[in-house]
């Protein structure tokens, strides 16, 4: 299991575009479960509407947990995603 903590930097937060890209990325690792937690709410990174309904904004701290067959590769990809898009 890999756990990543990240403080959102993007002024626009997790809106449709980055949320869609995150879902696409997460679906690329079918044997690996990726979850996103903000506060007490945790959703799977493959669930677009759930991700968007978390209203993730700049300054929010989120935790991404990656678990499964390809967790190292997936965690690396998530790390890149967070730095490039969020």
């Amino acid at each position: 299991m890999v756990k990543l903590c990240y403080t959102v930097q993007d002024p626009l937060g997790l809106h449709a575009r980055p949320a869609g890209l995150l879902v696409k990325l997460a679906k690329g690792f079918p044997g690996t479960t990726i979850t996103v937690t903000k506060g007490e709410q945790t959703v799977k990174a493959t669930q677009l509407m759930m991700l968007m309904s978390m209203c993730i904004k700049r300054g929010d701290e989120i935790e991404v947990v990656v678990q499964g067959q390809e967790e190292q590769n997936a965690a690396g990809a998530i790390q890149d995603f967070l730095h490039n898009h969020l």
Partner: protein, 163 residues
């Protein structure tokens, strides 16, 4: 009513109605890859004429409605299908100006009920296309058939059908 119409009715029991009036176009034509490449899901684009609001295309529950991002709204339809309606391209940059949410997250809405009021002139004058995009983010058990090329009337014209 012809036999063909009866048959159609039986075959496609569910419909999505136009969320605004205007020309319905294939989603592939949208000038934003996250939509045109169907990263969020399959759907349709609509070039609004003088519409001032988007309407619920079917009955359901509002799942995404964030007052800091009032240019988009999500719904779970009563058939289990999940949809996202997004007004304009890159309109997240407008910081909510020109948009007003008319429904709250968790609210049950009926087909044709207004979800977002928007100012098309404000969108265009800030340099953004006003294209409205409807995406089926979770089709569930359904396989919707999208009907593009129509000149749709808000709340009346069928823009997608599914069983």
């Amino acid at each position: 009513m012809s036999i063909l119409n009866l048959f159609r009715k039986e075959k496609c029991s569910y419909k999505l109605l136009a969320v605004a009036s205007g020309k319905v176009c294939p989603i592939e034509s949208v000038q934003d890859e996250v939509f045109s490449a169907k990263i969020l899901g399959d759907g349709l684009a609509l070039e609004p004429d003088n519409s001032q609001s988007v309407l619920a295309p079917a009955s359901g529950v509002v799942t995404v409605a964030d007052h800091s991002m009032p240019h988009a709204v999500g719904m779970r339809l009563s058939t289990g299908m999940e949809i996202l309606i997004h007004i304009g391209i890159d309109t997240v940059e407008m910081d909510g100006h020109g948009f007003r949410l008319l429904a709250e997250k968790g609210e049950k809405v009926k087909v044709g009920q207004p979800l977002i009021a928007f100012d098309l002139d404000a969108i265009r004058s800030s340099g953004h296309p006003g294209t409205i995009i409807l995406v089926v983010t979770e089709p569930g058990q359904h396989k919707p058939l999208f009907l593009s090329g129509l000149n749709a009337v808000a709340g009346q014209t069928v823009i997608a059908e599914y069983q």
